[in-house]
């Protein structure tokens, strides 16, 4: 099994953005060209999150997802603003391979079970955004804006029990800092569930990714700033990981 390196594309209205600590968003380009480039470079997977969809009045932007999917021949996870099962169906039809749910899982966790029953557990990536508070890790919804009162380990286990196929664990504190993943956080989630865990928030160099896998046990590493703001690439990340003895996918040369 190969450890995946997953660029996270945060999408707000018409463009890609990246912030620090889920704040001070900065535009970093357009979505479509980014997807094309990542595809040509054969990344392992892409995660695409609409960070303002939970505030939107209307329905999700299926047309854009459809457009993004046109050029994506690696797995694509789409999230942001999902509240109903019919939206999941439309997203899958539009080209998503998996969906990521976050805010709704606190209000109506049964949705995870519904998605898992209809489309399989592998289709549901449960995303958890966490801040460290009073020596524990607390979960936040609404793109990090609202405290939920749930502690991360208990919550990750509940999501697994309800049918999540993977957990995307993001440290809001480390997000965008490029100072490294919150390794104890990732490790505690990895230890609490049996499903694959994707580490997110804080990657600034390849060693951070190696650490997330070797020290914290992550099945995949997600990152954004490192690819937006530095010269570092997913391909080189995998070379470094391979040197550290981590199994990674090698591109098919044909």
């Amino acid at each position: 099994m190969k450890v995946r390196v997953i660029p996270t594309l945060l999408w707000k209205q018409f463009g890609l953005v990246k912030g620090i600590g889920f704040n001070s968003w900065r535009r970093v380009g357009s979505v479509l060209p980014a997807i094309k480039v990542y595809n040509q470079r054969e990344v392992d997977e892409l995660v695409l999150l609409d960070i303002v969809a939970h505030q939107a009045e209307g329905d999700l932007d299926y047309e854009s997802v459809d457009e993004f999917g046109q050029d994506c021949f690696v797995p694509m996870t789409v999230g942001g603003g999902i509240t109903r099962i019919d939206q999941v169906q439309r997203l899958l039809r539009a080209g998503a391979d998996k969906v990521s749910v976050n805010t709704i899982s606190y209000q109506r966790p049964e949705l995870i079970t519904e998605i898992a029953k209809l489309h399989g557990t592998q289709c549901v990536v449960a995303s958890i955004d966490v801040r460290a508070q009073d020596r524990s890790w607390m979960c936040f919804s609404h793109c990090g804006q609202q405290s939920t009162g749930h502690e991360v380990v208990e919550w990750a286990q509940e999501l697994e029990d309800r049918g999540a196929g993977e957990i995307l664990i993001t440290s809001i504190d480390n997000d965008g800092t490029m100072q490294g993943y919150d390794l104890p956080l990732v490790e505690s989630v990895v230890g609490a569930v049996k499903i694959p865990v994707i580490a997110s928030g804080g990657a600034g160099n390849y060693q951070h990714m190696v650490d997330a896998v070797k020290q914290a046990g992550a099945s995949a590493v997600a990152a954004a700033s490192i690819f937006h703001f530095t010269e570092q690439t997913p391909a080189e990340a995998k070379l470094s990981m391979a040197k550290a003895g981590i199994p990674v996918r090698t591109p098919y040369l044909g």
């Binding site: 021949f73 690696v74 797995p75 080209g95 209809l118 499903i195 098919y252």
Partner: protein
């Protein structure tokens, strides 16, 4: 070459259609069983559970249509992911009361959970994993060496009744079936349409047929 992609109401067909378009063929979404005969080769996708897919195939009259095209007319069939599992005689995933549910019966065998096959690793088996050829020479893997990575997502796996049907395996704690073949029928547990260049090559091999 007219490639028919069976649209019986599940999952994401967009990516398989677009992958076929990249290979310069014109895939046709076939959404009525009576139209299947017009296709020269057939792709059967599958997402969800064995039980729910079989119910949909049954409802749309696909079971007989598929069997007829594949057995009587010997149309080449490529079944992908859960599609491959549907080729089996039976499976239990998603069935109420856990009883086994009949499959298409095109490749002898049954579908079992990865845990019941002895897999102690994290399930679903999701991500890139390398395949190994079982017997060399199946044209589906032309120019695709053992060790090539493909994208997998599954919690159940196909256990063929006859090991000769297995053309490739994947190791995930235990050895699992990665691809099967029985005559003009092929199945892959992995997703070629999501496996980038290696996947394009495999689809191309399927479309070109054994003689090329």
């Amino acid at each position: 070459m007219k490639v028919g992609v069976v649209d019986y109401g599940v999952g994401n067909l967009g990516s398989i259609l677009r992958a076929l378009e990249e290979l310069r063929v014109t895939p046709v979404l076939v959404n009525r069983a009576v139209d299947l005969h017009a296709a020269e080769s057939i792709v059967l996708p599958g997402v969800g559970s064995f039980f729910s897919c079989m119910k949909l195939l049954e409802k749309g009259g696909w079971i007989n249509a598929l069997r007829e095209e594949v057995i009587s007319y010997e149309r080449p069939l490529l079944a992908v992911c859960l599609g491959m599992q549907l080729l089996a005689d039976s499976g239990t995933e998603g069935s109420p009361n856990g009883k086994s549910c009949q499959g298409l019966g095109l490749v002898s065998g049954c579908v079992k959970s990865l845990q019941s096959q002895g897999c102690a690793l994290r399930v679903p088996h999701v991500g890139w994993n390398s395949i190994s050829h079982v017997q060399s020479g199946d044209h589906l893997f032309n120019h695709i060496p053992s060790g090539t990575d493909f994208y997998f997502v599954h919690s159940f796996g196909f256990v063929p009744a006859y090991p000769e049907a297995i053309v490739a395996t994947v190791d995930y704690g235990v050895t699992l079936t990665a691809a099967v073949r029985s005559g003009n029928i092929w199945g892959t547990q992995f997703h070629p349409e999501k496996s980038s260049r290696a996947g394009f090559r495999l689809l191309k091999n399927f479309l070109e047929g054994p003689d090329c």
